[in-house]
Subunit: 298 residues, 2 copies
């Protein structure tokens, strides 16, 4: 099971997941000017970040939206970025958050677990229920792949759907409604989907996404679903710190913490960013790693 | 507002939306064999379908997953397909079902409302709440674009999340829980997002997706949210017929009914599919159009 490789990577190198989410405003302007296209600049930037950080991270997460924004050429850069990381023997999470009916989900499985865009894990949206997830199951065993399904996201408006039907959505007198907000119901579904795919490490190859900006949700999910490996976004730019993400862990493993802007934007406002951005990214990873390990291995 | 153009198209040509979702098993095998690549065969096939049906349809829906499955070359074919349709003056819905946090949703807005993949409408997933939708708002007025947000999908497991917390999710004694299943709460959010973007036709440029396989949900959403234009998938291969989708309409407008396999797979089992697939697709559209118009204009 692929999850055993991720577990081992966290044991060896710690739980940091660097998000490679470049944008024209984030990468050093000199890099952009010197390249023939933004996509070319992104690839050069990504390779610089990867080369400078791969011994300190568990995996990379590549957010496809940033490449899709550049059209066909951007998606060629997405392909080349994930290929480069995988050629270094490091795991990649394709942060695609796809979700659709069964016959369409099969096409997304083909897209992201083989061919140009092949990665080790992808993120999925649970809104369609089992139909939208099951087409990925044959790839988990057959092709050593894994999933992270959205449970509770890191953005401010996450409660609008994910805490439904808790207040403020129902009049107070109608309570108690249910003991569960939607996200816990989703976590239950994800845990059920993952039961058949538990690796030697004790975690399932079907994990969940829970934002570091919601430490209480993180603690509830971790406590109730011990086999769920967690992908935790929201560190840094979105506000989460080591103490917020600490509830995601069990004995120092069982989660990876993702940060993008905090790492790949660390060069901003510093001297000679165009040449030194890899060094600044490495320092940010070291700082983040120390912060988190200090909170979970104390 | 773009929704006025869609409304006018339904008035003039009826409410059919053809889904261009090719796959190697669906298109005539001769077409596939004769092309240099599946993507080239898809484009030839799509142009044949469009040329044969555009005077009978309100719009086309292009499901990006089928193209993403072919990697970078497939996405070039997605680009060329939507460009071809738009060059004929016909509206295109990019069925991308994206959904992410705000800063990432901005990238998806760039991706699908400009550049290579520019379409008129896109479908979105509501799981992130307002943050995942608001970045598309500036494009609605500024660039004449529209959205269809998932409310109740057409697949069998849709109730697992979308009917939450209704039975069977909560013990019977805990009821009444809330008057709303999740999908109606989502419909309320969608209607609220759309209030500022109501066109002259009385419908908002932010519409909703409700499957034709759930006629009761369709009727509830139609009744409660009169300004919501509906995109209704599920006709044909997924089981919905004219009588099932009829509740989506108000005075013969306010909805488009999408079918893919029913139309683009109509050549299967018929003579000379490679040459005659456009003719069979046209017949299927005529049959579907007659069925639906018979149910809503009676």
């Amino acid at each position: 099971m692929i999850i055993d490789r991720l577990y081992a990577a966290v044991e060896e190198r710690g739980p940091i997941c660097v998000g490679l989410d470049p944008s024209p405003g984030l990468i050093p302007s000199g890099l952009l000017q010197r390249a023939h296209s933004p996509a070319e600049a992104y690839l050069r930037f990504n390779r610089g970040i990867v080369d400078a950080t791969l011994d300190l991270v568990a995996c990379y997460k590549v957010q496809i939206a940033h490449y899709e924004a550049l059209g066909v050429e951007g998606l060629a850069c997405y392909r080349d970025t994930i290929r480069y990381i995988r050629s270094q023997g490091v795991l990649v999470i394709g942060d695609v958050k796809r979700g659709d009916i069964g016959s369409t989900a099969e096409r997304y499985a083909e897209a992201h677990f083989g061919g140009d865009f092949e990665v080790d894990f992808i993120t999925l949206n649970p809104y369609f229920g089992t139909d939208g997830i099951a087409p990925f199951f044959p790839h988990i065993e057959g092709r050593e792949k894994g999933l992270f399904v959205l449970i509770r996201t890191s953005n401010p408006s996450a409660p609008e759907l994910q805490d439904f039907p808790h207040p403020p959505f129902t009049p107070r007198h109608a309570l108690p409604v249910t003991r569960h907000p939607l996200y816990l119901h989703v976590a239950e579904l994800v845990a059920r989907w993952g039961e058949r795919y538990v690796g030697r490490c004790g975690y399932s190859a079907i994990g969940g996404v829970v934002g570091g900006t919601a430490p209480e949700a993180l603690a509830r999910v971790r406590e109730r679903f011990p086999k769920l490996f967690l992908l935790v976004p929201g560190y840094g730019a979105q506000g989460a710190r080591g103490k917020d993400v600490a509830p995601a862990f069990r004995d120092g493993n069982g989660a990876v913490i993702a940060a993008s802007r905090f790492v790949i934007g660390a060069h901003r406002g510093k001297p000679d960013p165009e040449r030194r951005f890899p060094e600044y990214a490495r320092e940010a990873v070291e700082e983040m790693r120390e912060d988190i390990l200090g909170c979970i291995r104390s």
